[in-house]
């Protein structure tokens, strides 16, 4: 690639001036260009090795804020004051920079201080080299005398040192060759007109720096966690699961009673679940209510039940869904239940919780069930093994006994995380006969399962705070990895 072809118009303008001028400032003057334009151009030229740059930092002295405030050198003020009569130290202390000036005057033998009174020794002095020095600012002292005055004024805080970088530009042999050869005619932008009339033919196009940094573009895209949930949904569908849904506002009945959770269970405390204010009682079909009531009170299917008086009114209270299993309960009782069947739901659930890095009152659960004539614990373990592989990419898993009021036997699934050790992924169990008997009313077995999908999402997206799943940060979302 001919380097001349890749020169930007600015580079082409600046390069000829480098031969005659040395510093960026000089180039600006001779080429009548803006400082920023020249800086950019010489940097590009340097990266193409057509010029080399030498930077030198110079120090320039300038008046400090304090230096600009005082109207005259304090030693001059003091000499004038004490010329006719002795003045008290207290009075002089009002003069800004007066203390340091007193020291200098005494050192030069121009004043004496006795009993807190300052008086002149008779000699009046009007010449102060510091005063001349200040008048010359800004400049860069070179003589020894100037340097020593600079040091003293700096100590007194009257002047400050500004650094200034001077860039000297030197043309390289390569640069000379390019100049000598000439740039030739280059097309900068291809225009519609040029395409139409063919005038581009036989011309060279300026080559762009394809590695240069470009302005940022923020395209529309999906939210990372929502995309993760999309993938979870796709995977379940691929595994042959049908998606269920259910209302956000549930009845106690479907959320808990139907799942054989006794009405005295602590999950129903007002500080565990969110009950809805001023809601009319939920409507629950009386036949299924009757069966669930019986299952609780005296048991069905050979169970002795919870043995307490079931309150249908309590069952009809409205609450925000506390667990996704409510969707499974509805599906089990539905006339549309397919046997064999596999079901899942991605359910928003709500629980009374203090908000912190691992708890939100609003969270997501993925849960469901597999139903068939003959299913057992081995199938449940097989399903959990599959889930661990599919959703957490985990081979090393541990299945241990668990407890859920609606399943028996019950199990919990843990997977080994490379850095965090054993992590709980979810729970599962065979729906209790009381649940199957009162809802499905069929001779079937069902494996109920649930996955802590928020936690899986956090791992997948590398988050340590659950609140980030619902990120409120637009910068994060714009820059986030979505797949």
């Amino acid at each position: 690639m001919d380097v001349a072809l890749s020169l930007h118009p600015l580079e082409r303008k600046v390069l000829p001036f480098v031969v005659v001028s040395k510093t960026v400032e000089e180039i600006c003057k001779t080429a009548s260009l803006q400082h920023a334009e020249v800086v950019r151009a010489v940097q590009w030229l340097a990266s193409k090795k057509l010029v080399s740059l030498k930077e030198k930092t110079d120090f320039v002295l300038a008046l400090s804020d304090k230096g600009s405030r005082i109207k005259e050198l304090p030693e001059k003020t003091i000499s004038r004051l004490v010329a006719s009569k002795a003045v008290s130290l207290a009075e002089i202390s009002h003069i800004e920079g007066g203390d340091a000036a007193l020291g200098i005057l005494r050192q030069r033998g121009l004043i004496v201080i006795k009993d807190s009174m300052v008086s002149s020794v008779g000699k009046t002095e009007n010449f102060f080299p510091e005063e001349q020095f200040l008048k010359k600012l800004p400049f860069s002292p070179s003589s020894d005398e100037d340097k020593s005055i600079a040091l003293s004024l700096k100590r007194r805080g009257l002047v400050r040192e500004d650094s200034k970088t001077i860039v000297t530009v030197l043309i390289s042999d390569e640069g000379r060759k390019v100049l000598k050869k000439g740039f030739g005619e280059l097309v900068d932008s291809l225009t519609v007109q040029m395409i139409k009339d063919g005038s581009w033919k036989g011309k060279n196009f300026r080559a762009y720096d394809i590695k240069s940094i470009v302005p940022r573009l923020f395209g529309g895209k999906f939210q990372p966690y929502k995309r993760f949930l999309d993938r979870v949904r796709q995977q379940f569908i691929a595994l042959g699961f049908k998606e269920m849904s259910g209302p956000l506002v549930e009845s106690d009945f479907w959320d808990m009673d139907a799942l054989f959770m006794p009405q005295f269970h602590s999950a129903r405390d007002i500080h565990e679940a969110y009950y809805v204010r001023n809601a009319a009682p939920a409507k629950v079909e009386s036949a299924v209510m009757k069966r669930v009531k019986e299952a609780h009170e005296k048991g069905i299917m050979g169970s002795r039940g919870w043995q307490y008086k079931f309150d249908p009114e309590m069952s009809c209270r409205h609450l925000l869904r506390t667990q996704g299993t409510a969707c499974s309960a509805r599906m089990l009782a539905s006339p549309h239940l397919e046997v064999p069947g596999k079901y899942f739901a991605i359910a928003r659930c709500f629980r009374y919780d203090v908000i912190d890095t691992t708890h939100l009152p609003d969270f997501n659960q993925v849960e469901g069930f597999v139903v068939d004539k003959a299913l057992g614990l081995k199938h449940l373990f097989g399903l959990l093994q599959d889930f661990a592989k599919n959703f957490a990419n985990a081979e090393d898993i541990r299945i241990v006994p668990g407890y859920f009021p609606f399943t028996e036997p019950s199990a919990e699934l843990f997977a080994k995380h490379p850095s965090m050790g054993w992590i709980e992924l979810g729970g599962a169990g065979l729906f209790r006969p009381e649940v199957i008997g009162s809802l499905a009313q069929k001779d079937v077995r069902a494996i109920a399962w649930g996955l802590g999908v928020d936690r899986l999402g956090m791992f997948n997206l590398g988050m340590s705070d659950i609140r980030d799943l619902f990120s409120r940060d637009l910068s994060y979302l714009r820059n986030a990895r979505v797949i």
Binding site: F218, G219, G220, F222, Q223, K226, F236, I237, A238, F241, K242, E243, L248, V249, H265, S266, Y274, V276, N278, A279, A280, M301, R304, Q307, H318, L320, P340, K342, F350, Y352, D353, I355, P361, D362, G376, L377, K378, H379, F381, G382, L383, Q385, D386, R398, I399, V400, P401, Y403, P405, E408, P409, A411, L430, L469, F470, D473, L474, S475, L477, R478
Partner: protein, 541 residues
Amino acid sequence: MPTMTYSRNDFFKLLGTSLSEEQLSLLLCRVKAELETFGDNIVVKFNDTNLPWIWSVEGLVCVLKGLLGLEKGLPLVSVKSGSKNIIAEKISGRPFIAGFCAAGVVSENLLIQLVQLQEKFCDAYGRKRSKIAVGIYSAEKISFPVRYSFFDGSTKFVALNGTLMGLSEILEKHPKGKEYAHIVHGWKKFPLLVDNQNNVLSFPPIINSEHSGRVVPGISSLFFEATGTDEQGVMLACAIFAFALFQRGFELESVVTIYPDKQIVAPDFTPRSVQLDMGLVESVLGLGLSEPSVKGLLEKLRYDSSKMVVPAMRHDIMHSVDVVEDVAIAYGYENITPEKLALYTKGATSNEQYFGDDVRLFLAGCGFQEVFSPYLTSKKLLFDMMNCAASPLVEIDQFYSESYSVVRNSILPVLLEFLAGNKHVDYPQRVFEEGLVCVRSPEIVDYRNVAFVSAHSTASLTEMRQVLDFLFKSIGMTYSVEELANDSCIPGRCGSVFVKNHRIGFFGELHPKVLENFKLDVPVSVAELNISLLHELSNSR
């Protein structure tokens, strides 16, 4: 889920063997518990809220010994038949009471364990004392029989850590009284437990008396009672505590509760009969186990397998499937080989889901960034900030925070709140969210909505119309617009979106007043559509 702390020395002394942290952790998994800390103290979290027997260190050790093969079969407990009585009046609202006496040395560690068990049992199993509460007393200070009867609110006694106060006063002033007053809220009379000398033992379920209800290390004779709304629970409480004391070498003495119409004796360690259904064992576990080997496994979980009975504390067994789980636990989950499900079913989701996902795709295509938000929010955001009148909502009765006290009925305010939090980020800002809202009209209905907003110095109505045009073309539908008066938008710059005469949403330019409420410095144009309705209407495209 209760978390219990045990002294490590005491725990291993009772167990009779020592275990490493890893060994104990795995063993506890088998009783549905997690080892949280393994130091001078052992901290265990129990997931099974229905088996409080093993929350006591003595009950836990009894089961672990079985699993370790150190002991098997039914644990033996002996109770001396006593002559002491509780005379129980008819106490409506808290009708059941039972108790027992125990003689032995109350060490400091034992007392710590008893108090801990009392707290966790009453909290987690007794539903914060409303279902069951237990009291422990120094029996030496009690003159039997004790009476369980109703008293006036003005009746006075000295409560534990209190002064002489009336019952109503205790409920108002004593810390425990205030904490548990709701259990007896609205009662005209209150239950007291009083001895033969008219000394008050306690005010169940609120507080013990200072007289006999202060138990200190070194005393040698205890009286224990449980009151509650559930007779089985009261009896279970007695059995659990009596079992723990028996394991500590205490001599148990039964106490008879005399009700107007019947008598019961506590503690009752009569083993409970359960059913072993071998057919169910095989169909659930599929391990090909013989009946003798199943019975051998159950002995490990402290069953008497010849009589098929379990300890009296096992109230959790309701069905033969519970016995099946015990077989599996004794066999070891880790010894059961998983089997792949060979079940052909067709996977699917709802058409509405697909429809919503397509709408998301089109909006992302228009350059909108997707946002995902909590559904809980506040009335302030939904109405005040939007400068619009309140409408019925799903409101939480007892919320933790005002900011999370209602379910959103619209997504737009949530997006504006999002914009308000991102003022430092480069404009233009275009964001959208698709998700559920909950509407009350007056029945409660969920809808899938989508809202999208555009915020930048030249944001306008045109932009929203362009997106709507593109969206409706992409889903193959047409829409019409009608002018809409909406307090959130600039008058004359707001419209309803109609499809086949159904209003399915709106669009507009936000009123500067609303921008001011959100402290936004740029114009914002907005739109929100009900996708559930739109999807329904699209079916007849």
